[in-house]
Symmetry: D2
């Protein structure tokens, strides 16, 4: 990675918590029943527990209480990106780490939500509401319950994706938190457009996408196989809900995974994802993609729809207030690829001109026919 | 089907040939080696026989000599849509049938191409070069040769798709030739935009798509499973040939099949297709789709790219000359769906307005952001 | 095929009915609720209609009233192998054809079962209860109803399989009825052990398996993909019903299809099957397998369990009485392959000796370790 | 786990090396070309490097030099189970750890094999030749090279499986080495028959199977999807090598993965494996299976073939001499399940009697028909 980080955050002197994995997201939704219809009846997530205000959902292979919370609220937003840490002591480390960074920090030994014990919530230096927990209620791992699987069964939570203006700055901070970069998107001038970072040995537990932020870009769940993702699309078609499909299905360049992006009834973006690769070795090779490579985000060269670049969910501070966003000052990926002066190529050495005429049109905003 | 056929072709008094199935297409290509690279090295079709001028290809489960001929020529075009008939006598029927229609007819007891015996070629009333044959050289059916299968193996030729200005007129003619309609696309006013017709009991052996014609829209090959189609996309990406992907992969509404459209080095369109349904009963229910239903051509509501509507291959007459095309006079599917005055909906009762803003933009030409 | 048919049935002078396809089987089951649990709750067949005595089931892509009838009775048996014919007149042909053969024939213009109109039932020369119908109640084809698909969805009825002592004799009769042989199993001496015959252009609508008969060996339903069949196994495991799996899953040599054999609560055998090949050309090459080739019935060489050879369902005559069976007089496939003097090989030229010791043991009854 | 470990190995006072994952196995093969045909031409493993004596192979997603070494030798055997450690310093830890245990230890700063740097080889307390390395030559990760994928592509090395007489003793030792148990097979009396242990967060990096040992039971490679495993079987059939299939394909109970066991030309056992679950949390629930549960090793209840229980590969000491084996003294899994006094059930509460007669026969050695 040739990019620099001219505006780094300080590195705390205390060690970071030992984060195991991204574990859950808390979404604020405006119509709890409508969201339930989407996540439970359409996507077949499993209800661990629910009441009038919130629904706790998990995936088929999960043994902790939840991977997604739907909480009723007036405005759609994200209340927490929640990570599981290795031990109870890691909560002390999390608290000290963020206090040293001068962040708002709250701790609740009973947990901020059902199913969890002692928890720390912070508004991190990038403005995101991060939660850390270790103690958690165990529930049945439904991995073997094939009588409950649907054709599009979601089996694991895989990762978050966050929008933030300055990607190198965000990466620098995440590295102090113990994350490692596996892949990124740059240009020749060294501008970084996005970066993928992991704790568990997959391509990521979270990614940083350049744009006005802090905002939540998406949360991703894994299926076993590609046909499971296709089955979700087929079911949405049958229910006449195909307009929940925003982008895909397709094969990512970055991560090599098969993907689909959906929008929930509030517009929160959900990814369904399968088959990235093992990244657990310390010298795992970082893959850097050129921003103009049209196979970077879709290996088949299918265009990224503009809304995917521009729309994302509001995040909340620890008081439940929307966090104001700052604009990105570096070039935007949309502008340099499909904007008026942007370009994308299939073959780097041949440039955009070697693409068929009808294909070039796809890559310009406002340019069709 | 409420549409009428105000300008029908005459019905011959002689019986039509008993057509078994669409069997092969003869493509004229401008660079034989480059086309070979695409069809043999990328798509893994099997070479039955080849010389300096032509390559004869077949699919993995085929036992007749070829399903596709690549013939070297100066201008890309289609020289023959070839159907196999049940018996040698059906060639006499074909000859009589088309002579009565006043069409140009040629017969060659040695076959017009390698691998075939006695054959009839006609320029049919719609202007298309149709070939009929029965005698054919048998070759090894490679169905069990899993040592030769690639991840995206093409196992059968499935259907043709033809562009013609007046779909009801074309359908009327094809019905006299013994075809049956399985599905079509219409509007409330009774305009027919496209129709699918079969001899073998799948959704079609050929389809008629409304537009300036005669032109060849595409020829389709089948895979066993959906992942085989995804593997073709993945391979195109690996070879930096992803710009051969024009549309898809996706699930069709019409036919319920999973599909992908590619363009070959000359721009000829190839579909890869799997899993439509049995249609062999005489009362098989016809499915009529509303042209404004955005799930009709892609069940997931992904937009049809404009080039798919507008571009198609020239066809040749029996002397090898390009056949001039006539314009469509009825409404065009592109105009009424994604044109300035067009519209598409996900839910008929809610109209286009209930679709998300970012989704509506997809459905207007020149309208992005 | 080198075998002869020394004891042929007479060929009727009247033309046979034009059979479209195998369409339904009527099973007598001893505990209707238990059978319903199996076919509806486990296998997810669709209930078209049911009452206290019978349940009418269909597959996801079917548009006729039923593909399987479960009828309550005292003894498990098969009451009808039901074929759909092309036209009402074909029922007259069926009646005349079987009367000329001297078979018991019944005709009911109202249908013998719900959903059907004018029907002919016969006890055919081999002793099997065959039904023919054309008129049928149309129901919704659920092909597009992906909201109703389960991971192991059965989409079509594919074929029957019948046990009869003299296979060449049975084949001769079926050929007069208009069937064509696609594959068979023989030995060097010309003994035929089994034969597959089709009307629709798949490998078969029914097969004749040599053994004491008439008995019903199995009825088969198709899935779209192989993983659907695996999902049925997984679900049976989850429900602790895995002992319903008798054989497979595996790849057939004969037919090249992927398969699984289940036994229902009464012991009726059900096959789940996917991806055979097109056989509709009149010169479709017949494939003859050597009985000693251990890849003929399982392409992976996994052994056929003895029960699969020996057990089959009783069939009923037109009065509902069990039809007595006659023994096979030719060699039995089980005896010549896994019996005391039998043998199987992986490579014909190397014989059984080249197989690993542990593999040879699999192929001898009573020989393990 | 109720079992005890009456004969524990001492726990070294020095910390164990930080093992990342099982990384490679070194197999001694008697005919290098024949083994190459199997691993390269049939299984499509990628050759990183080869000479007259050895072939270095890797899987499609690997970036280190090799996952499997085939080395020419007089007697088939296993020369090394090789693990990658986190840092160079972990090699010092490995050396100290095993010296304290009194094991034979060798260290080679140049690596014992090509592609590796500083390495430690030990004969561990159970008699197995374990190798540890950190420095390794990086090679191209072929994850995106879909032009090179075959239908049955092996994408990762997944785990080893070792045969050892006393499973609790082996587990105790492996826990001191930093492994965690994810699943095991026991009986009511507390006898442990097998245990699965992991470093990377999958079900295992190695498993201990009770039996005469030390011997190597198998090494496993992962595919992306289940159909990839079926494709390997299909290809073996096409090559008339189906007798390399020893067991499966099937779904494991333990691990929930889809599996296939092959035997290579020397009889070394290879597993192909896909889709187990995440186990990286410290409180990941251990799953204990009853040895009499016939779904424990095959979720579909298909029988384990006797050779799978009894046959395994010799392992070599650090001088290249075969390590003598000690017999198991506890009950054997084969004896208690399919032996004369053994039994297996599908439903614990119903016992073996509720299984169909033909199914019961499968579960007794020497009992067929
Ligand atoms: Ca797409
Ligand atoms: Fe993502
Ligand atoms: Fe098509
Ligand atoms: Fe069958
Ligand atoms: Fe294993």
């Amino acid at each position: 990675m040739t990019d620099t980080n001219p505006n780094p955050l300080p590195t705390p002197s205390t060690p970071p918590p030992d984060i195991l994995r991204c574990a859950s997201m808390e979404l604020v939704v405006t119509d709890l029943q409508r969201s339930r219809d989407f996540y439970v009846d359409v996507l077949d997530l499993v209800v661990t527990e629910e009441d009038e205000d919130a629904i706790y959902l998990r995936s088929m292979e999960e043994f902790i209480h939840h991977n997604l919370i739907l909480r009723k609220g007036d405005e759609a937003a994200v209340a927490a990106f929640s990570y599981r840490v290795r031990s109870p002591e890691d909560l002390d480390r999390a608290e000290a780490f963020y206090r040293e960074l001068g962040c708002p920090v709250k701790r609740n030994s009973e947990g901020f939500v059902k199913g969890l014990g002692d928890s720390v919530r912070v508004q991190d230096p990038l403005g995101f509401p991060y939660e850390f927990f270790h103690e958690v209620e165990h529930v049945e791992r439904l991995a073997w319950r094939y009588d409950l699987y649907s054709p599009g069964a979601l089996v694991r939570i895989d990762h978050f994706n966050q929008v933030t203006p300055d990607v190198p700055r965000a990466v620098g901070y995440m590295e102090t938190l113990g994350f490692r970069v596996t892949e990124d998107i740059q240009d020749d001038a060294g501008t970084t457009y996005a970066a993928w970072m992991r704790r568990k040995p997959t391509v990521h537990d979270t990614a940083m996408t350049g744009g006005a932020g802090p905002r939540m870009h998406h949360v991703a769940f894994a299926t076993h196989e590609k046909h499971n993702i296709l089955a979700i699309c087929d079911k949405l078609g049958a229910l006449r809900l195909s307009d929940h499909i925003e982008r895909g299905p397709g094969r990512h360049g970055v991560s090599n995974a098969f993907y689909l992006y959906l929008r929930d009834p509030d517009g929160h973006r959900i990814e369904v994802y399968t088959q990235d690769y093992y990244t657990g070795d310390p010298d795992n090779p970082r893959v850097t993609w050129d921003v103009h490579d049209n196979q970077r985000r879709d290996w088949w060269g299918n265009p990224v729809v503009p809304s995917w670049y521009t729309e994302a969910s509001t995040v909340l501070d620890l008081e439940g207030r929307p966090v104001p966003t700052a604009e990105r000052t570096d070039d935007s990926e949309m502008a340099v690829t499909i904007g008026a002066d942007g370009f994308s190529y299939t073959r780097a050495d041949e440039g955009a001109e070697s693409m068929p005429t009808w294909k070039q049109g796809e890559y310009k905003l406002g340019h069709q026919l």
